[in-house]
Symmetry: C2
Subunit: 236 residues, 2 copies
């Protein structure tokens, strides 16, 4: 089994980094192949633009999805995107590990979706949700927050964490066709004690071990993996 | 009255650009001062990091909010962030104009929030929501989507647009203390006819005109505007 961890935090000694490191160790010990897209360490550029492409569909009006489709058909993605798309194509399990900033993903991770998960490569007309390219594969979000659980409760000022993560789960992971496991949330990480920190990491490792066992027990039913060289037939 | 439009689209001839241009023309004709942060044209960098700061709170462990607080107290933001923060400090009305990508903002706009709306500058302990620094000021989202209204309905695959925008409204605009006006959504813009396009723009201009009138009729009650040189007292 092959896991891709897409990880977004600027500080290697952060709690978010510890979640990533725990996932690498836990899944590695279970015999997984584990790759990490460490977006900060790799200097990933999150800004979508013409630099995404070596091909050109329309040199005048820049329509992003049209350029993505052209690149997916002609192998025209930039080297940075090809590298990420190769990692994506090989993964059976995706872990997205990030801090909640402004109720959402850090920009560097949002841009990873915008650019890497391109039209024609990661989805296409009629290839979304239950018919998505990622059917038979699995996804999971692991999150750190500054706020306490109370602030993310139904009575809290931010509202339920599930409401904040709805776009991440529905229009990102499920959109691709991934089967999503329960989100792991480490609340108020700047405020936790060393013991609480260890308890979080132990719970996270246990959740990953359980998930890996469940996935291994599931009959393989992975859809054809998208690759950068496949020419998708679309109605566009 | 001073309006800041924060605009995120790579193509000047896009429908999203037309919404921005219509807002500039409409509010300008009403006598507003209008500034535009054209994030793509200005090459805005959305990646949070040490390059945000000329000051250093902790040269070892990088804690982003701690560095933001230090910079807000000591005037230590980078030139790019100071420019944006000066625009923010002067605005009475904020328009966020962007396409919905992956159910959220383009990364370049998410990073504008991450970096410009810094701890100590845009919010602080006890300075959020009803006690936020932006109390007495106004905010509005104008959005383009590829999907049809049906897809964003309660029965649609994406679910209600309000559910997708909940983090944008609650943990971004309301978090700051802005009073938010109804979101303007131009659905399925890649598919609309020229007549539908004109109808969208006319409706958008009418909504802005109405809002400007309502704001002008509201007694001024703007909270002290944050500036990059104010030293906020916090409990942090």
């Amino acid at each position: 089994m092959n896991t891709l961890i897409v990880y977004a935090h600027p500080e290697p000694r952060s709690f978010t980094a510890a979640l990533k490191d725990t996932a690498v160790a836990t899944l590695g010990a279970l015999g997984h192949e584990v790759s990490v897209s460490d977006l900060y360490a790799e200097g990933f550029n999150p800004v979508a633009g013409r630099h995404d492409f070596e091909t050109v569909a329309d040199g005048g009006h820049f329509h992003y999805q049209q350029e993505q489709l052209k690149a997916s058909q002609a192998g025209g993605f930039s080297a940075e995107l090809r590298r990420e798309q190769e990692r994506v194509a090989q993964a059976d399990l995706f872990l997205f590990v990030y801090p909640l900033w402004w109720g959402g993903m850090p920009a560097i991770l949002k841009g990873w979706f915008d650019r890497v998960m391109a039209y024609g490569f990661a989805y296409a007309d009629g290839k979304r949700f239950d018919s998505g390219f990622f059917q038979g594969r699995h996804g999971l979000i692991a999150l750190t927050t500054g706020g306490t659980p109370e602030r993310f409760s139904p009575e809290g000022v931010y509202g339920p964490i599930d409401d904040l993560l709805y776009p991440h789960r529905r229009t990102m992971l499920e959109y691709l066709g991934l089967r999503i496991a329960p989100t792991f949330v480490a609340y108020a990480t700047p405020r936790v004690s060393a013991a609480e920190r260890e308890a979080y990491l132990a719970a996270w490792a246990a959740q990953l071990t359980k998930l890996a066992g469940e996935i291994a027990a599931t009959p393989a039913q992975r859809a054809a993996a998208p690759t950068t060289t496949t020419h998708w037939a679309t109605a566009a």
